[in-house]
C-alpha cells in the first residue's frame, strides 16, 4: 500500500456524473408490461383467451353447420371428423354450438364489463370528485344496492321480463356496477388526499389537468384489474341463470345452457357436457390468472 505511485494521488477527472448512477427509468406501463410478461401463468391465460376469442368469432363462420339447424338424421352422434364435438338430440353440430355459445358468453361478459365501467367510473368519480353531501347521498344509495343479492334480483327480473340476452344484461347491469363505483371512489379519495395532488393544486394546476394527469392514471390500473374479474363473473352469472332455466333459451346457444343440456344427457353422452365445460372452465381460469397477474403487475406498491 505504501508503494503507490504519487500520480495516483492526483485528482481524478470527473468521468461519471454522480447523479447518473440511478437505473434507467421505465414508464409505468412499460414496467407493468415487463412484469406481466415474466408471469408465465398470466401470459398463458392471455394466450388462451386470445385463442378462445378467435375460435368464438371464426369457428361458427367456417363451420359447415350453423348453431340452430336441426339434422334429424344425425341425432346423438359421438365426436368424429365430421362433428368434432358430436351432435345433440336434435342433430345440431356441437362444435358450432359450443363456439357460438362461447361467443354469446364472451359478448355478455364484455358488454356487462363495459356497462360496469361506464356507470361505475362515472358514479364513483362524481361521488369522489364532489365529496360532501353529494358523496354522502350517493354512498347511502350504493350501500343499499350493494346489499341486494344480485342473483335473486336477476332471477325475479328475468322471470317477469322474459328470458334472453338483453334481460340478462339488464339484470346484471342493475347491480353489477356498484362494486366498480365503490372501488373507483375509494381509490380516488385516497389519491386526492396524497401529497402530489395537493402539491399540484397548490401550484395552481387546473382541475382538468389534475384529473387527466394525476387522478386517471392512478385509477386506471385498478379499473383494468377489476374488469378482468367482472367479465368472468358476468359469464358465470349467465351460465348460472341458464342452468336453473331462466337464462338463454335454446335454440340459441350459450355455455350455460349447453352445460345444463349436457347435464341431462351426460350419463350416456358424456361429450355433451365435457366440451362446453372445458371451454367454460378454461375461460374462467384464464381470466382469473390474468387478473391476478395484472394486479401484481399494475400494483405500484410492488414497484421496486
Amino acid at each position: 500500500m505504501e508503494s503507490l505511485s504519487k500520480d495516483k494521488f492526483q485528482p481524478a477527472e470527473k468521468t461519471t456524473n454522480a447523479e447518473s448512477i440511478v437505473r434507467p427509468s421505465l414508464t409505468y406501463w412499460q414496467d407493468a408490461w415487463r412484469r406481466l410478461r415474466s408471469n408465465k401463468m398470466a401470459m398463458a391465460g392471455l394466450i388462451i383467451l386470445v385463442l378462445m376469442t378467435i375460435l368464438a368469432i371464426f369457428a361458427p363462420m367456417f363451420s359447415k353447420f350453423d348453431y340452430e339447424t336441426q339434422y334429424l338424421k344425425d341425432i346423438d352422434l359421438k365426436p368424429s371428423w365430421g362433428h368434432f364435438f358430436g351432435t345433440d338430440d336434435f342433430g345440431r353440430d356441437l362444435w358450432t354450438r359450443v363456439w357460438w355459445g362461447t361467443r354469446i358468453s364472451l359478448l355478455i361478459g364484455v358488454i356487462a364489463a363495459l356497462i360496469d365501467l361506464v356507470v361505475g367510473v362515472l358514479y364513483g368519480g362524481i361521488s369522489a370528485y364532489f365529496g360532501g353531501k353529494v358523496d354522502n347521498v350517493m354512498q347511502r344509495i350504493v350501500e343499499v344496492i350493494y346489499s341486494i343479492p344480485l342473483l335473486l334480483l336477476a332471477i325475479i327480473l328475468i322471470v317477469f321480463l322474459g328470458p334472453g340476452i338483453s334481460s340478462i344484461i339488464i339484470a346484471y347491469a342493475l347491480t353489477g356496477w356498484v362494486g366498480m363505483a365503490r372501488l373507483v371512489r375509494g381509490q380516488l379519495l385516497l389519491v386526492k388526499e396524497q401529497e402530489f395532488v395537493l402539491a399540484a393544486r397548490t401550484l395552481g394546476a387546473k382541475p382538468k389537468r389534475i384529473i387527466l394527469q394525476h387522478l386517471i392514471p392512478n385509477v386506471i390500473g385498478l379499473v383494468i384489474v377489476q374488469i378482468t374479474f367482472i367479465v368472468p363473473t358476468a359469464i358465470f352469472f349467465e351460465s348460472f341463470l341458464s342452468f336453473i332455466g331462466v337464462g338463454i333459451r335454446p335454440p340459441m346457444a350459450s355455455l350455460g345452457n349447453l352445460i345444463n343440456d349436457g347435464a341431462h344427457y351426460m350419463r350416456y353422452q358424456p361429450h355433451r357436457i365435457i366440451f362446453p365445460t372445458i371451454v367454460f372452465s378454461l375461460i374462467l381460469l384464464s381470466f382469473n390468472v390474468l387478473g391476478d397477474g395484472l394486479r401484481d403487475a399494475l400494483d405500484p406498491k410492488m414497484r421496486k
Binding site: E143, V144, S147, I148, P149, L151, L152, L153, I155, I156, L157, V159, F160, F236, S239, F240, F243, I244, G245, V246, G256, I259, N260, G262, A263, M266, R267, P270, I273, T277, F280, S281, L282, L284, L285, N288, V289
Partner: protein
Amino acid sequence: MLNYVLRRLIYMIITLWVIITATFFLMKLLPGNPFGEVAAKLPPENLAILKAQYGLDKPEWQQYLQYLGNVAQGDLGVSYQFPTRSVVSVIKQSFPASLELGVESLVIAIIIGLTLGIVAALRHNKWQDYSAMIIALIGISIPSFVLAPLLSLYIGNKWGILPPGLWEGPENRILPAFALALGTIATLARMMRASMLEVASLDYIKTAKSKGLSTRKIVTGHMLRNAILPVVTILGPIAVGVITGTLVVENVFVIPGLGYQFVSSITTLDYTMITGLTIFYAAILIVVMFLTDIAYGLIDPRIRMSGRR
C-alpha cells in the same frame, strides 16, 4: 359499537323494503289476473267477490300498504299454481334440508379453505404452496353447476362410491356438500394465503420475533387472528354464494330443499311462490351479511371500541 349495529340494522330494513317494493310492482306488471288460470274461467261477479276478499278492488297504494303489512307479519301469500299451499308452509317444509346442506358445506369450506391458505402461506413458494394454489384455481374455474353433475355421474352412478342423489342418510350429504363447498374452499384459501403473507411482512411480527417467541407461537398468537380479520369480511358474500349455490346443487342431487322448490316454481312460472321465496331468501342473505358485519366488529378491537367503519 351500538351505533354501528343500529346503522347496519337500518340499512338492513331499507334493503328489504326495496326488495319487497320491487316484487310488488313486478307482480303488478303481470298480464292477466292474480289468481292464475283457474280464476280466468270464473264468472265476473265471482271474480269480483274474490278480488274484494283479497283487497284487490282497493286503490293500488292501499294494496301496497297491505302487502307490506302482510310481509311484515310473515305472510308471504299463497301459491299461484296451487292456491291451497301457502308460501310459508312450503318454506317450513323444505328449508331445513337447505339449511343443513348450507351449514355443512360452509363448515367444510371454512375448515379446508383456511387450512389450505395457512399451509400455503407458511410454505410460501414451496410445493405445498403450489399444490394448494392449484386446488384453489381449479375450485374457482369449476363452478358448482359443473362440478355437481360430474360428481353425481362419476362418483355416484358410474363408480357407485356414494349415492348420486336424494337426501336420506349421512352418505347422501357428502357429495352435495362438497360440490357446494369447492368454490368457497378456493376463495377462502386464496384470501387466507394472501392475508397471511401480508401479515407476515408487517413490523409487529418482527417485534414478536425480537421477543424470542417461537415460530409456532408467532403464527398462533399473532398472525392467525390478524390474518383472519379480512377473511371475516367476505364471509357474508361467501354465505350468499353458498345459499345461491343450493339452487343448483339441490336440483342436481334431487334434494327436497328450498332451492329445489324455488327452481321448480321458476319452471312452472308460479309467480307468487317466486316472489315469496325471493323475499325470504333476501331476508336470510341480508341477515347473514348483517351478522358477519357484527362478528367482524367483535373481533377487531379497533372497530369494537370506536364503532367506526
